[in-house]
């Protein structure tokens, strides 16, 4: 054991949170990641920039990850990966293929000493110091909700829908193109040709993301209702946005205001974000529901949008009092936690705190163990349904 401690004192373990859009990477015991960088890498053979999550099969993912992890270690944290301990913060709903391939890359190619996989929803609570919360992770691909009660994730009550940054950006692009075509048609021949010279239908994703981050906001519930009923509302002023340095495009105020509506729209499937929250609470035991509702916790980069949290709380409260839920879920208060960090790296921070404790030595899967098992134990695989890794049959 003492040798083990000596190693960890010498070689500070690293914490990796590989998100669909952005990757957070840093050291344990620190309170902010060393870098937040796009999860993308230049493909060495074709020279194209590719997202890690755009993989086609395992071999493709393997080569993407080798390049990406290499860059993380040698460009950003500047340490040798060999014989280092790694904490990976990942969702419980992470695809097995991705998890296994990432483990294979780290253990076999980079020869790390051990990996500790921690569920992102659970360790996020380390940043709050509470044991019970309903964690809502709004990232890029999807929103994932997992309640945690007294330090145990209630997996049965998980909810996930592709309602996150990707959907918002798709909505923004769609609305913008429509509005733009309308403007163009209305202007006819006498329109200002300069303004329409640029084809807006093929704006790159990075531009749409930039418009979303800098120009869009989450409107209030009252205004959203009025807009959906097409009642007249005073439109926010349009935004002048420059593309390629010299072209000026106008982004109508209504586009800026309604881009985030896709998360809160209730259709027949009732799969809006507020529905998912209440559905998840309903799935939990009746004695846990009040506590969970009073401990909501939003994590993920998308929740940093201006007005997101207040709108979210209004929507959840309103839905709680709607006839649909008021009988089944007689709760009066919902409360929201405020993390002591920026929302986009809260899960990473939880992993950094958790990894700085002795748990790193107790719970991590060592390289020798991995090589003998040749797979990573996971909750979804009943072959390793054992609490303590050391007791696993080899």
């Amino acid at each position: 054991m003492s040798i083990y401690e000596g190693l960890s004192a010498d070689k500070l373990a690293v914490v990796l949170d590989l998100g669909a859009r952005y990757t957070k990477f840093g050291f344990i015991g620190e309170f902010a990641p060393r870098c937040i960088i796009p999860s993308e890498i230049k493909c060495p053979s074709s020279g194209k920039i590719r997202y890690i999550y755009s993989y086609t099969d395992e071999n493709d993912l393997y080569s993407l990850l080798v390049e990406f992890v290499h860059m993380l270690f040698f460009k950003h944290v500047l340490v040798t990966p060999k014989d280092r301990h790694v904490v990976i913060v990942e969702s419980l709903l992470c695809p097995t293929l991705f998890r296994d391939t990432l483990a294979k890359v780290l253990y076999r190619h980079f020869e790390v000493a051990s990996i500790l996989f921690v569920p992102s929803h659970l360790v996020a609570l380390c940043t709050l110091g509470v044991k019970t919360a309903l964690v809502i992770d709004v990232g890029y691909e999807e929103v994932q909700i997992i309640p945690v009660y007294e330090g145990v994730p209630i997996l049965k009550a998980w909810q996930a829908q592709p309602l996150a940054a990707k959907a918002i950006e798709a909505r923004l692009r769609n609305n913008f193109i429509n509005a733009y075509n309308n403007m163009k048609n209305a202007a006819g021949d006498c329109g200002d040709t300069d303004t329409f010279a640029e084809d807006v239908s093929e704006l790159p994703d990075s531009v749409i993301e930039d418009i979303k981050v800098r120009g869009c906001f989450v409107t209030t519930m009252e205004r959203s209702e009025m807009i959906s009923k097409s009642e007249p509302v005073k439109e926010p002023p349009p935004l002048k946005y420059r593309i390629k340095g010299d072209k000026l495009i106008l982004i109508p105020g209504i586009c800026r205001e309604t881009a985030f509506e896709v998360l809160f729209e209730r259709d027949n499937d009732t799969n809006s974000i507020q529905d998912l929250v209440l559905k998840s609470i309903l799935e939990c035991g009746i004695d846990t529901r009040k506590q969970l509702a009073e401990n909501l916790f939003l994590v993920g980069g998308t929740v940093m949008a201006p007005g997101f949290k207040s709108r979210f709380m209004r929507e959840v409260k309103a839905l709680l009092h709607s006839p649909e839920y008021c009988d089944r879920l007689p709760l009066n208060t919902v409360k929201l936690h405020n993390p002591p960090a920026k929302d986009n790296y809260t899960c990473w921070l939880g992993g950094a705190i958790f990894g700085a404790t002795d748990m790193l030595q107790m719970r991590s899967l060592s390289r020798e163990k991995y090589l003998s098992l040749n797979t990573v134990p996971d909750w979804s695989n009943l072959a390793h349904n054992e609490l303590v890794i050391s007791k696993l049959p080899t």
């Binding site: 309170f31 110091g129 981050v213 002023p237």
Partner: protein, 478 residues
């Protein structure tokens, strides 16, 4: 230079199976194998600042969080900031004017005055750092969880220690001086002697986060005013400083410049370095550089006839021997897929019989589509050793090699040009890339002084070479 900017016409097959030009390959002199960037072990060698070229030992760089002590990056455009000095006269006029310094970006004209950082009286070292505003809360949380984890661990350890032990050596290991120091360095509280959890019982108090019902609403200004994009930071600017993530440009804060590293490469099999740079960041030389182009014959395409599907065309290759020893080069055809399978099987059996913990990195399958066949010369070509003086000798070479004039068409010093014909497959379409390959057998003289017999050892080596001279042309010009 042409290696860096040109297309890869000639590629060698590395031991790991990837095809790379000779300029990026390494040759491990200890296990006599080709290695490339994919199959060597990369290590961080030294840290340095690319602006002031200061280099620090790794331990010190770690403490400084891999950032330079004196250089700053512009938070707006990431260019390096420069220190500017101004003289300011003191109002009462009694003293001489004092010098004041501020930081300015010469690229985007951002200055520290823009964000209200006061001018400093010394040029370096006194710039304010922005601390994480939640540091105190987080430190208390960290201490709390550390104690919880230690409790769990000591409980677990107790169970394992219940078996009777012989001797006291285990206690010196557990409570000895060295482990105390190790614990202290790791930032963990020292274990009390006697095994009683004195400090484990009192958990450091924390203030758990309190959930709130009221959330700050969206300011009304969003509905009335157009956002000024010149005042709002982009995502890249925000992510450059993860702890701060300023949303408006007047809260940006300059950051110390991030270090760069020099890497050394190590062979995974024998753990010898194949490349080790000099420590000084200003130097571009290497202490060890076992590049493949110093050790194996290089193949270059000199010229070739237009390629046509199904028709043989002549190609002339130049072979260069870079070593100090005479070598002889022989061409053979690439093994067929069946032969490869047999060889792999044999290798696998050999590994199993050795029963060693061979750490081999997984090799993703690579597919190469061969679209041509070479009619290789059967005779061996002798290449004389490299002689730097001969490069400047204009007198006619007087070599006495018994060359077949149909194969060796030209010779000078350690170089020879070899002619043979290639036939692109007849079923390929015009305009497709022709790729063909052959095995190159060559003699290699190992001069490693550490080898047991002190004489240079001659070994026969083989490398697979793939050439893609160009595309097939359309119709027969006749």
């Amino acid at each position: 230079m042409s290696y860096l900017i040109q297309r890869e016409f000639v590629r060698y097959e590395c031991t790991c199976g990837s095809l790379k030009p000779i300029s990026v390959l390494h040759f491990c002199r200890h296990c006599l194998k080709l290695r490339c960037g994919y199959c060597v072990c990369h290590e961080v060698d030294s840290h340095y600042c690319s602006n002031c070229m200061e280099h620090l030992p790794s331990a010190e760089a770690k403490i400084k969080k891999n950032r330079c002590g004196s250089c700053f990056d512009c938070p707006n455009c990431f260019h390096t900031l420069s220190v500017r000095a101004t003289t300011r006269s003191v109002e009462d006029g009694s003293k001489t004017p004092s010098k004041h310094y501020y930081l300015a970006c010469f690229f985007c004209r951002w200055t520290t005055r823009d964000v209200g950082i006061p001018d400093q009286t010394t040029a370096t070292g006194s710039w304010p750092n922005k601390e994480n505003p939640y540091a105190e809360t987080l430190i208390s949380l960290l201490e709390h969880y550390k104690v919880i984890a230690m409790r769990e661990r000591s409980q677990k350890d107790k169970k394992t220690y219940s078996t009777p032990r012989r001797g006291y050596s285990s206690f010196t290991e557990k409570f000895g001086l060295s482990s105390m120091i190790a614990r202290k360095r790791a930032g963990l509280p020292s274990l009390p002697l006697g095994g009683k959890e004195v400090n484990l019982s009192n958990l450091p108090p924390i203030t758990p986060s309190v959930a709130e019902e009221e959330v700050e609403p969206l300011p009304e200004s969003y509905f009335a005013e157009e956002p000024d994009l010149t005042k709002i930071t982009s995502l890249v600017q925000r992510h450059a400083n993860p702890a701060l993530q300023a949303t408006t440009i007047n809260t940006l804060h300059p950051q110390h410049r991030h270090f760069y590293i020099k890497r050394s490469l190590r062979c995974r099999q024998c753990e010898h370095n194949v490349s080790k740079p000099e420590y000084n960041p200003g130097s571009i030389k290497f202490k060890i550089q076992l590049a493949a182009y110093y050790h194996m014959p290089e193949v270059r395409i000199m010229t070739f006839e237009p390629l046509q599907a199904g028709k043989p065309s002549d190609i002339i290759l130049k072979l260069i021997n870079p070593t100090q020893h005479l070598t002889s080069v022989q061409f053979t055809q690439l093994p067929t897929t069946e032969e490869i399978e047999v060889a792999e099987e044999r290798e696998k059996n050999m590994k199993e019989s050795l029963d060693r913990d061979l750490i081999s990195i997984p090799i993703p399958p690579r597919c190469v589509v061969i679209t041509g066949k070479a009619d290789l010369p059967s005779s061996a070509v002798v290449l004389p050793p490299r002689d730097d003086a001969a490069e400047y000798d204009d007198t006619v070479d007087t070599h006495s090699f018994q060359d077949d004039p149909n194969v060796v068409v030209w010779r000078k010093g350690n170089k020879a040009a070899v002619k043979f014909s290639i036939t692109p497959f007849s079923d390929i379409k015009p305009g497709t890339e022709v790729l063909f390959g052959f095995c190159l057998d060559y003699g290699y003289v190992n001069t490693m002084p550490i080898l047991e017999p002190r004489q240079p050892q001659r070994t026969e080596m083989q490398v697979k070479v793939y050439l893609s001279p160009g595309k097939t042309c359309g119709i027969d010009p006749k």
